[in-house]
C-alpha cells in the first residue's frame, strides 16, 4: 500500500500548480507552459500509482483518507476510490497532460490563466471522483463550473458568452436540486458520508423524489436528451482544450454520479423509473444520431455524437435492472454496467482525440465547417491517417476501444429486451454514417480549395498528442482485460447493493410480527 495521502496529492498538486501559475503570470508564457506541463505530467505519473497499487480483488474503498472537516454538519474530508472511480481519475490526469500540450502554441492570450484554469479544473475533477463525503463531493462538483465557465468565456469562439452562460446556468440548475436531496439524506442518516447514504432505508416516495433530484443533476451533466442542448453550444464555442475536457471527463462525471448516487441510494426508484432512463437513452442514441448526421460544423457533429455515445453509457448502467429481473444473477447484469463504464473511458479517449483533430485543422484554417475542407489527406497525410482512425473508433470498429463498450452494452440489451438491442444497435449504422461521412468530406477527395492546398501536416507536438491517444484507443480495444478486471469487484458489489431493496420493512408486516409473538 501507499503510505502517503496520494488522493490529496492528486487533488491539491494541480490546484497549487494552478495557483502558482496565476502568481507567476509576469514570468512570460514560456515559463508558464513549462511549469504547467511539469505539474500535469507529475500528476499523471503520480496517478499511475493508483493503478499499480490498486487491489482489484476487493470492492472496499481504497487509499482512504478521512479527517473531520466541518463538525457542524458532521462533514468529513473523506476520500477514497474503488474500481469505478480509479480509471476515471487516471483518465482525468492523462487528458490534462494532452490538453496542456494542445494549447502550447495556440493560446497566446492570457496563457497563464488558461493553463491555471485547466490545472485547477484537473484537481477539482479528481476531487469529484475521489470524494466520499457528499458536501465535499458537491463542493468539487460545483467549483468545477467556475474554471470551465472562464475557459469557454475567455478563450472561446465568437458566440462564447452565450454558450458559457448557458452552460453554467444549465449545470447549476441541475445541481442545486441535488443539494436539497443531499441535505435531506443527511438529516435522515445523520452524516454526509456517501457510504452511509448507501445504507439508508427510504420509502418509495422519498426514493423517487431523490432519484429525480439526482437525475436533474446528472442528466444535465451527461447530458441526456432532452437537457442536452447546452452541450453543442458549449463544445462549439470552447477552445480545443475546453472541448476535450468537457467531452472526455466532465460528461463522465454525470455517468459516475448515476453509479455512485442514484443506483445504490435509490435502487427501488431506479428500478421503477428504469423505463424513463432507457427511453431517454434510446432517444439519445437514435434521434441524436440522426441529428449528428446533418451537422455542417465538425465540432457540433462530434458534440452530438458524444451525446449519442453517452446514451449508451446510461443505457448500459440502467439495463442492469432489466437483466436482474430476467435472470436474477448479478454476474449477467454486470455486463451492461461494465460495458457502460468502458464506454465512458473509451469515449474519453476517442472524443478527446476527435476534438483535438478538429483543433489541429482549426488552428490552421480557422474554420470548423465541413464544407470548407476536402482532400486534406493530400496535404496532411499523417493527420489524415489519425483522423480516419479515430473516426473508425468513434463508429465502433472492432479492435478499437469504441467497439468493446458498445458491444458489451448491445449484448446486455439483447439479454434484456430484443427491442432495446434493436434500437441500440442502430448506433453502429448511424455512428459509422456520421463519422465516416464527415471523414469522407473532410479528409478524402480532391483538394477543395487553396486554403487546403496550403495546409501543413502535423508537427511533432501534435503528432505526440494524437499518437498517444491512438495507442490508448488501440490498447483498450485489443486488450480491455485490465480495465474490466479493476472494476469487476466494485461493479459486482454495486450490483449486489442494487439488487437489495432499500424500502423500509412495511409497518403492517412489523405489526403482524408483533401480534404473532406471545
Amino acid at each position: 500500500m501507499i503510505d502517503y495521502s496520494i488522493l490529496s496529492w492528486l487533488i491539491w498538486l494541480p490546484i497549487a500548480g494552478g495557483a502558482a501559475l496565476l502568481v507567476m503570470d509576469a514570468m512570460g508564457n514560456k515559463a508558464c507552459r513549462q511549469v504547467a506541463l511539469l505539474v500535469s505530467i507529475a500528476t499523471f505519473l503520480l496517478s499511475t500509482q493508483l493503478f499499480t497499487h490498486f487491489d482489484s480483488t476487493t470492492a472496499v474503498m481504497q487509499f482512504q483518507e478521512n479527517i473531520p472537516w466541518i463538525e457542524a454538519f458532521s462533514a468529513n474530508y473523506h476520500l477514497g476510490i474503488d474500481g469505478i472511480s480509479m480509471p476515471l481519475i487516471i483518465l482525468t490526469t492523462f487528458t490534462t497532460v494532452l490538453v496542456v500540450l494542445a494549447g502550447w502554441q495556440v493560446i497566446q492570450n492570457k496563457t497563464a490563466q488558461y493553463l491555471a484554469s485547466f490545472l485547477i479544473m484537473e484537481g477539482l475533477m479528481v476531487g469529484v471522483f475521489a470524494a466520499l463525503d457528499a458536501v465535499l463531493f458537491y463542493v468539487f462538483w460545483e467549483a468545477m463550473l467556475v474554471p470551465m465557465f472562464l475557459i469557454i468565456g475567455i478563450w472561446g469562439g465568437p458566440n462564447r458568452v452565450y454558450a458559457t452562460i448557458k452552460f453554467f446556468l444549465y449545470t447549476f440548475f441541475g445541481s442545486v436540486f441535488m443539494l436539497v436531496a443531499l441535505i435531506y439524506m443527511y438529516l435522515k442518516s445523520g452524516s454526509f458520508s456517501i457510504l452511509d447514504f448507501h445504507m439508508l432505508s427510504m420509502t418509495m416516495t422519498e426514493q423517487v423524489l431523490i432519484f429525480i433530484a439526482f437525475l436533474m443533476a446528472f442528466a444535465v451533466k451527461v447530458p441526456m436528451w432532452p437537457v442536452h442542448t447546452w452541450l453543442p453550444d458549449a463544445h462549439v464555442e470552447a477552445p480545443t482544450g475546453g472541448s476535450v475536457i468537457l467531452a472526455a471527463i466532465m460528461l463522465k462525471i454525470g455517468g459516475y454520479g448515476f453509479l455512485r448516487f442514484s443506483l445504490p441510494i435509490t435502487p427501488d426508484a431506479s428500478h421503477e423509473l428504469m423505463w424513463l432512463i432507457v427511453f431517454m437513452s434510446l432517444v439519445a442514441v437514435v434521434y441524436i444520431g440522426f441529428v449528428a448526421l446533418v451537422q455542417q460544423d465538425m465540432k457540433k457533429l462530434i458534440a452530438y455524437s458524444s451525446i449519442a455515445h453517452m446514451g449508451f453509457v446510461t443505457l448500459g448502467i440502467f439495463l442492469v435492472f432489466a437483466l436482474l429481473d430476467n435472470n436474477g444473477s448479478v454476474e449477467g447484469a454486470a455486463l451492461g454496467m461494465e460495458g457502460g463504464i468502458i464506454q465512458m473511458v473509451s469515449h474519453g479517449f476517442i472524443s478527446g482525440a476527435l476534438f483535438l483533430c478538429v483543433g489541429v485543422l482549426y488552428d490552421r484554417m480557422h474554420s470548423r465547417q465541413i464544407g470548407d475542407y476536402g482532400g486534406v489527406v493530400n496535404t496532411m497525410p499523417v493527420f489524415g491517417a489519425f483522423m480516419v482512425f479515430f473516426a473508425m473508433a468513434n463508429s465502433g470498429l472492432p479492435g478499437t476501444s469504441g467497439f468493446v463498450g458498445e458491444f458489451m452494452v448491445i449484448l446486455a440489451s439483447f439479454k434484456a429486451n430484443f427491442w432495446f438491442a434493436f434500437l441500440a444497435a442502430t448506433t453502429l449504422i448511424l455512428g459509422a454514417a456520421y463519422s465516416l461521412w464527415m471523414v469522407k468530406r473532410v479528409v478524402f477527395g480532391d483538394i477543395a480549395n487553396d486554403n487546403v492546398r496550403a495546409l501543413e501536416d502535423v508537427n511533432a507536438r501534435e503528432f505526440v498528442i494524437l499518437a498517444t491517444l491512438a495507442i490508448a484507443v488501440l490498447l483498450f480495444g485489443l486488450w480491455p482485460e485490465p480495465l474490466i478486471e479493476v472494476m469487476h469487484a466494485s461493479v459486482n458489489n454495486l450490483l449486489a447493493h442494487v439488487s437489495v431493496s432499500k424500502l423500509p420493512v412495511p409497518e403492517t408486516g412489523v405489526a403482524l410480527l408483533n401480534a404473532v409473538q406471545p
Binding site: I70, F73, V135, L150, L179, I183
Partner: protein, 478 residues
C-alpha cells in the same frame, strides 16, 4: 435603584465607543486640515479595541443588567465583534473613497461610530425601549450619512426617502410595541416572554402588535414588501455610505429579530413564521428577478441584498436553534461579502469619477487580474457557488429549513438562487470576457489593496474551512 459598578463593566465596549466617538468629534473640530486623517486612525483604533474588549467577553454567561434593559450573552458578544470587524473593513474602503473623491471627512467616521453604537445597543437590548433607542440611534446616524453629499440631488432624494420611510417604519414598530406593552404590561423582553407563555392571552391584540413589529423589522431588513427604500438609498447614497448601510446594520437587524421574535415572542412563533415565509419568498423572488434588469451595480447589489435577506429570513422562520445559528452565520458572512462587493466599486472608481455602472467593470481582468479574481470570488460567493463561504451560508440555512420539513421552501429558495446566479455571473462575464473601455491603470492605495485582498481571501478561506465560524455561531446560541 442603585446599580452596582460591576454591571457597568459589561457595558465597557459601549461606553468606550461612546466616549471615543465624542472625543473624535471634538478632535475633528479642532485639528487643522493637515491632521484630518487623525479621526480615521482614532476611529479604527476605537473599533479594534472595542472588538478586543467584546471578544474577551465571549465566554461569559448570559446576564441581564441595568434593571432588565440590557442583556449580555455570548450571542451579543459574537455579533458585536463581527460588527466591529466588518466596520473596520468598511472604514478602510470609505477612506479610500473619501481620498479619491477629494473630501476627507471626519464626520463620516464619527457618524459611523454612533451608528455602530446604535447597533450595539440593539444587539444587547433586553427591553422594548432599549431596542427602540438603539434603532433610532442607528437610523438617525444613517440618515445623516446618506445626506452627506449635500450638493448631490440624488443623495438628498435618497436621504429624504430613507428618512420618511424610516420614520414611518419606526412609527409602526413603536405602535406594535405599545400594543405588546398593553397586552403584557411590561417592556422587559423576559417578562413579555413570561406573560405570553401563560394561557388566556387576548390573541387579537397580540397578533396586531406582532404584525406591526414584523413590519418594522422587515423595513430594517429591507424585506419585500417593505423594500422600496433599498434600491434608491443604495444607489443614491455615496458608495462609502452604501457600503456601511449594507453591512453592519444587517447584523443588527438580525439581532433585533432574534431579541424580539425569538426571545420574547417565541410562543407566537406559529404566527410570525407564516409572516416570515411570505416575506422571505417574496424577497427571494423579487430581489433575484429585478436584479437582472439593473444596469447600475449599486442597484443590482441592492436587489441582491433583498434576495439575501430572503435567505436569512428562511433560517429565522425555521424556528430552531439550528436555524437561528444558520441565519447568524448568513448575516455575518453576508456582511463580509457586501463590504467586499461595495469595496470593489470604490476600488474601480477613479479620482473625480464615481463608478456605479455595471459597465465600469468591463475588462477588469485585463486591467488587474488580481482584483478581478477577488471580485470573482465575491460574486460566486454571493451566488452561493462553492468553495466560497456563500455556499456554506446557503447550505446551513437550507439544512435548517429542510430539518423542519419545509422542503418546498428549500426548493423555492434554490430555484430563485439559480435565477440569481445569472446576474452575478454576468458581472464575471463583464470582467473576464469583455474588453476594457479604458486602459487607465487602477490607482489603488496600499491599505485598500490589502483590505480587498484580505476580504476576498477570507471569503474563499471561510469557504474552505467554514467549520470554525459555524461552530461558533452554534455555540453562542446553545
Amino acid at each position: 435603584m442603585t446599580i452596582p459598578l460591576s454591571e457597568f463593566m459589561l457595558l465597557a465596549p459601549e461606553i468606550f465607543v461612546l466616549s471615543m466617538a465624542c472625543i473624535i468629534l471634538v478632535v475633528e473640530a479642532f485639528v487643522g486640515t493637515k491632521l484630518r486623517h487623525i479621526s480615521y486612525v482614532l476611529s479604527q483604533l476605537t473599533l479594534l479595541v472595542a472588538a478586543l474588549l467584546t471578544w474577551n467577553m465571549l465566554d461569559t454567561e448570559r446576564v441581564v443588567v441595568l434593571g432588565g434593559t440590557f442583556i449580555h450573552d455570548p450571542m451579543a458578544a459574537l455579533l458585536k465583534t463581527s460588527i466591529f470587524l466588518i466596520t473596520v473593513g468598511a472604514f478602510v474602503y470609505a477612506r479610500s473613497f473619501h481620498t479619491s473623491s477629494g473630501a476627507l471627512r471626519g464626520e463620516y467616521y464619527v457618524l459611523g461610530l454612533f451608528a455602530v453604537l446604535g447597533t450595539m445597543v440593539m444587539v444587547s437590548a433586553h427591553s422594548l425601549l432599549t431596542i427602540y433607542l438603539g434603532l433610532e440611534l442607528l437610523s438617525l446616524s444613517l440618515y445623516a450619512m446618506v445626506a452627506f453629499d449635500r450638493d448631490s440631488p440624488v443623495a438628498s432624494e435618497a436621504a429624504m426617502k430613507y428618512f420618511v420611510l424610516g420614520a414611518l417604519a419606526s412609527g409602526m414598530l413603536l405602535y406594535g410595541m405599545s400594543m405588546m406593552y398593553g397586552a403584557t404590561g411590561s417592556l422587559d423582553l423576559g417578562e413579555i416572554a413570561q406573560a405570553l407563555s401563560e394561557p388566556g392571552q387576548n390573541s387579537m391584540i397580540l397578533i396586531f402588535g406582532l404584525c406591526f413589529i414584523v413590519v418594522g423589522l422587515a423595513f430594517k431588513f429591507g424585506a419585500v414588501p417593505f423594500h422600496m427604500w433599498v434600491p434608491d438609498v443604495y444607489d443614491g447614497a455615496p458608495t462609502a455610505v452604501t457600503l456601511f448601510i449594507g453591512s453592519a446594520p444587517k447584523i443588527a437587524a438580525f439581532a433585533m429579530a432574534m431579541r424580539l421574535l425569538v426571545d420574547s415572542m417565541g410562543s407566537l412563533s406559529v404566527d410570525w413564521q407564516g409572516m416570515l415565509i411570505i416575506m422571505s419568498v417574496l424577497s427571494l423572488a423579487l430581489g433575484n428577478v429585478i436584479a437582472i434588469a439593473q444596469t447600475s451595480i449599486k442597484r443590482m447589489l441592492a436587489y441582491s441584498t433583498i434576495s439575501h435577506v430572503g435567505f436569512l429570513l428562511l433560517g429565522l422562520l425555521a424556528g430552531t436553534t439550528e436555524g437561528y445559528s444558520a441565519s447568524m452565520f448568513y448575516a455575518i458572512t453576508y456582511a463580509l461579502m457586501a463590504i467586499g462587493g461595495f469595496g470593489m466599486i470604490i476600488l474601480i472608481s477613479r479620482a473625480g469619477y464615481e463608478a456605479n455602472q455595471l459597465d465600469d467593470f468591463k475588462g477588469l481582468n485585463d486591467r488587474s487580474p488580481w482584483f478581478a479574481f477577488m471580485m470573482l470570488i465575491l460574486m460566486f460567493s454571493m451566488a452561493g457557488v462553492p468553495p466560497t463561504v456563500g455556499f456554506f451560508a446557503k447550505l446551513s440555512v437550507l439544512q435548517a429549513i429542510i430539518h423542519v420539513d419545509m422542503v418546498w421552501l428549500a426548493l423555492v429558495a434554490v430555484f430563485f438562487s439559480i435565477i440569481g446566479a445569472f446576474y452575478y455571473i454576468r458581472l464575471v462575464k463583464l470582467m473576464y470576457f469583455d474588453k476594457p473601455e479604458t486602459q487607465e491603470p487602477l490607482a489603488v492605495s496600499a491599505d485598500m489593496r490589502m483590505a480587498i485582498s484580505f476580504n476576498g481571501l477570507l471569503v474563499l478561506g471561510l469557504g474552505l474551512f467554514p467549520g470554525g465560524l459555524l461552530a461558533l455561531c452554534a455555540s453562542v446560541l446553545a
